[in-house]
């Protein structure tokens, strides 16, 4: 393990575990933001490891993702908490300790798959694919195992983070449009979910996804 990319990936894995064990909503938002910022700097490290010059494009990508994930999303989410006066506990379906243990299982699974996935492009770091997969799986797990709508948004962000890491580290060249597409995607989706949460709150006085179950069958 030599490159800075490895250090960032290790940090991302730690934030995943952190989120799996976090019980406070505000705390989770901050940790997600930290994860986003960490990942935001990945393109810099990837470009450095490839020996390529730091192009304006890479810098723009870094700036955009750090601003978006580190600054804008947390603000939006905190505003959501304030306006909807959401209770600040996470309220999981699956307990925190169990979540952490399952996180270990997910890590093992992603290592198993990630090291076998045949990628023609040698990733910047051998950890890239396993940790990206681990992040995606953690995000999915957070979506299905937490009952607040806002926590589900966080899970979605983590899922997106995993995909972003995969895209930056494991894929050689992607068109600029697509790179920014991801950021735009995350932005728009979170924005839309924010509006939906706002409306749901106005209508229901709660935003617990588990109580959204009138529609069945």
């Amino acid at each position: 393990m030599t490159s800075g990319a490895d250090a960032v990936l290790a940090g991302v894995a730690v934030t995943n575990f952190w989120l799996l064990g976090a019980s406070r909503l505000g705390h989770s938002i901050r940790v997600t933001a930290a994860q986003g910022i960490l990942l935001g700097f990945l393109p810099l490290l990837a470009a450095g490891a490839d020996g390529g010059a730091l192009s304006l494009r890479v810098l723009a990508l870094v700036a955009a993702s750090v601003l978006l994930k580190g600054l804008l999303f947390p603000r939006l989410l905190f505003r959501g908490i304030r306006e909807a006066s959401i209770r600040r506990e996470i309220e999981p379906y699956v307990g925190f300790t169990t979540s952490l243990v399952l996180g270990l299982v997910l890590l093992a699974v992603s290592l198993g798959i990630g090291t076998r996935l045949p990628l023609p492009h040698r990733p910047v770091s051998t950890l890239a694919v396993p940790i990206a997969l681990f992040t995606m799986l953690s995000g999915l797990f957070l979506i299905v195992s937490r009952r607040k709508a806002l926590t589900q948004v966080l899970g979605y962000l983590v899922l997106e983070d995993g995909i972003y890491a995969f895209g930056v580290l494991a894929v050689g060249e992607i068109p600029l449009l697509v790179e920014f597409g991801v950021l735009l995607d995350a932005f728009v989706a979170v924005f839309a979910m924010g509006i939906a949460i706002h409306r749901i709150h106005r209508e229901f006085d709660h935003i617990d996804a588990d109580r959204l179950k009138v529609l069945r069958g």
Partner: protein, 493 residues
């Protein structure tokens, strides 16, 4: 006019219409502006599609946009359904405007989202790049999500949330698949135009990395499959379809699902070519399709809500289309024909269900009766669309289902044929029972009557006539268009 201009026109025409709608001061005028915008776009799309049929694929935007036989076929069906639904929206929301439940703000929001969704779906169809296609699907998801809750109330918001969350996750998976496909091109010198142009990918498919392509196709199938509503990823679909206003449901069921399936159809030949044409990708599609047919059948039997019933019919029919697409050349042809038939039929079904819901004040099928007497146009339309949906002759769906069954048997896919027959059989019995009960019987006390107006008669009779005609005779140009579209998915060997 330059070839590329047509494509730009399709993408950009909804914008001025939306701008106009935002300026108008009465809800009815706003809706009419939206309708006009859709009709104009549809006209352009049909002309462009006709040109594709006569003169080959159109390209624009430096290779990023293109319209070939496959996308032209989908685009013309899309705009056809959109045009019909826009006209129906005038009828449907006209009632709400009279009742005072649709205010100006809601109407403006509807118009903007309605036109935005049209542009987003068109973008999916005219892009020549997997990345751009994905952007289109993403935009579709966001813009249509808020069409579900034109009237924000508890149930529609719940449906919106489920739709938004589940489909966002699906779209994220699809992006992962797109990335994997991009990764598989590492050793292929593809030159400019981006590595994700599907034309180039298809040309050099044999030299792509097979393992990565397999992983990528799996992610794409699951991701876009969520949006298609293939079982077991269909959780959002009945909620969204049942809670959205009827014109929106018609678009969802009639074409939005097909837009996502189109993306799978685009990647299918790439995956097949890269994995050595052994039917790996087709079999996956076949499996998902068969499962959807069976699962949907189980839900259809126990369903009491009219719009949810129609939604499960969508799961079933999209499953049938996926099944057909996995059955080789003949199957793809039949699947494309089925796309058109199902879109027409489902639009008709939702039109009628929506209006009857307004007249009876409920979507509970146990409380709807005597619709043939109460509202002949809508009641008759619903009965006919039910008959068509369950595959009764001589409606066109019977023909395309027969073609798919033949393709399955010719290919020796016994399991697929069995799943298809079992599903269709259960659906036939389950749905017919409801259809008869709703059409005849005594009109309940609270229900309003409605004499058919010219517009409503046209909206019912138009699709119905088309379905009957297509069931008997597929016109030459249409057959030609379908043949060349099917060639793009599965080249003749």
């Amino acid at each position: 006019m330059d070839a590329g201009t047509w494509l730009w026109a399709i993408l950009l025409l909804p914008a001025p219409a939306a701008g106009l709608a935002a300026l108008l001061r009465s809800p009815a005028a706003v809706l009419r502006a939206a309708c006009a915008g859709v009709l104009a776009t549809a006209a352009v799309a049909w002309v462009a599609s006709a040109r594709v049929l006569s003169a080959g694929a159109l390209r624009a935007g430096g290779g990023w946009l293109s319209l070939d036989a496959l996308s032209a076929f989908h685009l013309s069906v899309l705009t056809l359904i959109y045009a019909l639904s826009s006209l129906f929206a005038l009828v449907y929301f006209g009632e709400e405007i009279r009742a005072g439940t649709l205010r100006l703000r809601a109407a403006r929001r509807f118009a903007a989202l309605w036109l935005g969704s049209l542009a987003a779906m068109s973008l999916v169809l005219v892009s020549e790049n997997l990345g751009l296609m994905w952007v289109g699907i993403e935009a579709t998801t966001i813009s249509t999500a808020f069409l579900i809750c034109v009237h924000p109330e508890a149930r529609s918001l719940e449906a919106t949330w489920k739709y938004l969350l589940i489909c966002s996750v699906g779209v994220a998976f699809a992006f992962m698949g797109t990335l994997l496909l991009a990764a598989s091109t590492e050793r292929v010198p593809l030159g400019g135009g981006g590595t994700l142009g599907w034309g180039r990918l298809l040309e050099s498919a044999a030299s792509l990395d097979p393992g990565t392509v397999k992983a990528g196709f799996l992610f794409l199938l699951v991701g876009y499959g969520t949006k298609v509503g293939l079982a077991p990823l269909h959780g959002w679909l009945p909620d969204a379809h049942s809670q959205a206003p009827a014109p929106v449901s018609a678009i969802f069921s009639g074409f939005m699902l097909n837009t996502a399936l189109y993306c799978i159809l685009r990647t299918l030949p790439i995956a097949e070519a890269a994995t050595g044409r052994v039917g790996w990708a087709s079999d996956l599609l076949l499996g998902f399709g068969g499962l959807s047919v069976v699962v949907a059948a189980a839900f259809i039997v126990t369903q009491h809500d009219l719009k949810r019933l129609l939604a499960y019919h969508s799961v079933e029919h999209l499953g049938i289309i996926a099944l057909g697409a996995g059955l080789g050349r003949a199957g793809v042809f039949a699947a494309l024909l089925h796309t058109l038939n199902h879109a027409l039929c489902k639009a008709l079904g939702f039109f009628c269900a929506g209006r009857l819901g307004q007249l009876y004040g409920t979507h509970d099928m146990r409380q709807i009766a005597g619709s043939l007497r109460g509202a002949p146009a809508w009641g008759g339309g619903l009965l006919a669309s039910f008959l068509a949906l369950i595959g009764a002759a001589p409606f066109a769906i019977f023909l395309s289902e027969l073609l798919i069954l033949r393709a399955a048997i010719e290919r020796g896919s016994v399991l697929a044929a069995l799943a298809f027959l079992a599903g269709a059989g259960i659906v036939f019995a389950g749905a017919l029972r409801h259809a008869i009960a709703m059409a005849w019987g005594d009109l309940p006390a609270g229900a309003r009557r409605e004499a058919p107006s010219p517009l409503s008669a046209a909206l019912v009779l138009g699709p119905l006539a088309a379905l009957l005609l297509l069931g008997i005779w597929v016109p030459g140009p249409l057959r030609e268009a379908l043949e060349s579209a099917a060639d793009l998915v599965e080249a003749p060997r």
